[in-house]
């Protein structure tokens, strides 16, 4: 064979082999991280994790009940505040202001907020809420999470509503439906799966967040559902327990890490399979 052809083919083979190697490199990390989590997380796993409170140091039992409940409360509140605002904002961008300058500006700013460092959100909420209220509180933590969830919901809502065919809206308007009814009864319904996907992704995004909670909700060793006091939550509990020499705390931290990762990954996969089902239809 012509040596030039041989060389070109060799270059191509090497380059493609490197691409395969890169894929293996990427997947290897996922496998390694999950393996470590299962290895350490399952080692100390028991039902007590879900039924007992976080223990004082140097004991041998206890669980993560208050942290799990606290995380659920914070996440639900964060979504409860962030998602409706995001849904309405996304609706404005796709329906009322589709061609306005304001929408372009909001989209641009929203995309930046989407990737803004979460610790900055924590600092913002600390300055805007924790300091005026005079102390760390679960409420501040929930608001920080809402600010993080907001851009995720805005983005997916706008994207999904833009996919709804314009003829649907025109047909509904021709029947005499007021515009707000067209949006609520027709457009939202048509885009329902996509909107739920966005919601799930937002939940997945905020349920693992640690940095913004460090100086808003802080954490709490005890059972507390008072929103105006510090509130226990999984990520900060993991953060506080993992570096402690107490083996029991460390065991609980690994169990918590496993729980939180599985929950987040399950949400991610659920969201993806929902959107895949829609595409194939």
């Amino acid at each position: 064979m012509n040596p030039l052809y041989a060389r070109r083919r060799r270059t191509s083979t090497v380059a493609m082999a490197l691409c395969v190697a890169a894929t293996a490199f990427g997947l290897a990390w996922l496998v390694l991280i999950l393996a470590t989590l299962f290895w350490n997380g399952l080692a100390g796993f028991s039902l007590d994790v879900f039924t007992q409170m976080t223990p004082p140091p140097n004991t041998s039992d206890g669980g993560l009940l208050n942290a799990i409940v606290g995380s659920l409360i914070l996440t639900v509140l964060g979504i409860g505040v962030g998602a409706p605002i995001g849904l309405l904002a996304g609706t404005f961008m796709a329906e009322y202001g589709r061609y306005s300058k304001l929408t372009s500006l909001i989209r641009f700013i929203n995309d930046i907020l989407l990737s803004a460092p979460s610790i900055i959100i924590g600092l913002f909420v600390y300055g805007a809420i924790v300091v005026p209220m005079g102390g760390f509180s679960g409420l501040a933590g929930a608001i920080a999470l809402a600010v993080i969830a907001l851009p995720v919901v805005v983005r997916t809502t706008e994207d999904m509503l833009l996919l709804v065919p314009i003829q649907l809206r025109e047909a509904a308007a021709a029947l005499g439906m007021p515009r707000s009814h067209v949006i609520k009864r027709i457009t939202w319904q048509a885009a329902r799966t996509g909107l739920i996907t966005g919601l799930l992704l937002a939940v997945a995004r905020i349920s693992g967040e640690t940095a913004p909670l460090l100086f808003t909700a802080l954490s709490n060793q005890f059972w507390s559902v008072d929103l105006l006091k510090t509130m226990a939550n999984l990520p900060v509990t993991i953060n506080n327990f993992i570096n402690n020499p107490d083996p029991n705390w460390k065991r609980l931290a690994w169990s918590g890490a496993l729980i939180i990762t599985m929950a987040v990954l399950a949400l991610n996969i659920l969201a993806r399979s929902l959107s895949a089902g829609r595409q194939s239809k």
């Binding site: 890169a22 904002a89 640690t210 460090l214 802080l218 991610n268 993806r272």
Partner: protein
Amino acid sequence: MADFSVSDSSAAAADAARVRALASFKAGDRLFQGLTTLAAVTVLLVLGGIIISLSIGAWPAISAFGLDFLTTQRWAPNARPQAVLGGLGPIYGTLITSVIALIIAVPAGLGIAVFLTELCPQWLRRPIGVAVELLAGIPSIIYGIWGFFVLGPWLADTIEPAFVNAFEGVPILGSIFDGPASNLSLFNASLVLAIMILPFVTAISRDVFSTVPPVLKEAAYGLGCTKWEVVRRVVVPFTRVGVIGGIMLALGRALGETMAVTFVIGNSFRISGSIFAPGTTISAAIASEFAESRDLHQSALILLGLLLFVLTFFVLAAARLMLMRLERKQGV
């Protein structure tokens, strides 16, 4: 007569009901539009709130240190008579870890994107794509504890000593890869960051690679190009702007990543030439010191946060502008 008057009045009643219904529809419409507009403006208010809140918090530090903050390395919150606080260490750490993370993640991410769009059998594309994207779903703190307990010790035992030995005595490179190897280091943080941003580079590159018109690739193959030549000479030039946009987006992520870095970087404000030495980043400094800080110290940390926000803002804005330009080009 009576009949007429009855039907008249019922018609009038129906008219009135219709008018009322229309009016309530109109009011509902206006209310709903008002609500959505308000929600949309909230997004802008959040950004404004962040900038104002950080600026107010950072003001004492700005007036105390001025521009010296950017050039001072010393970080001594308890110094007498007045705290000496300089942001050079964390700023250096933030930039250097992000750059190293990009050096690792960009070739790997592009490689995966090429694999997914050119080589991979159709039925494997989705599973592998989802698996790589799941890397982005793993919470940051999980990367942190994994880097701390698993990756750090392994790097300090294997990769780091190998580099130290290989480059010993070589000028410049010798000091970049200077020992002693340490569990907590800038390099460890960079590698964790690289793994975390890999899915972003991959996802965007894959998306823009798939926008290349098949006819362009087919024409190149028809001329006898090899796979590599098609990627190198057709796909990459066609999608350059989008790929750079994706890289900038990943850079924005890397700059602000917090928990993962806090665990593995060692929190040392001293700048060391070696990437195997401990350091700190802006976000790690805030995460580890903010809760116990007060007065000027706290204000200096908020100032660091403001600098980080401005930095990521410009990087992300540049990324978005590039990606928007690409979308417009496609739209036409």
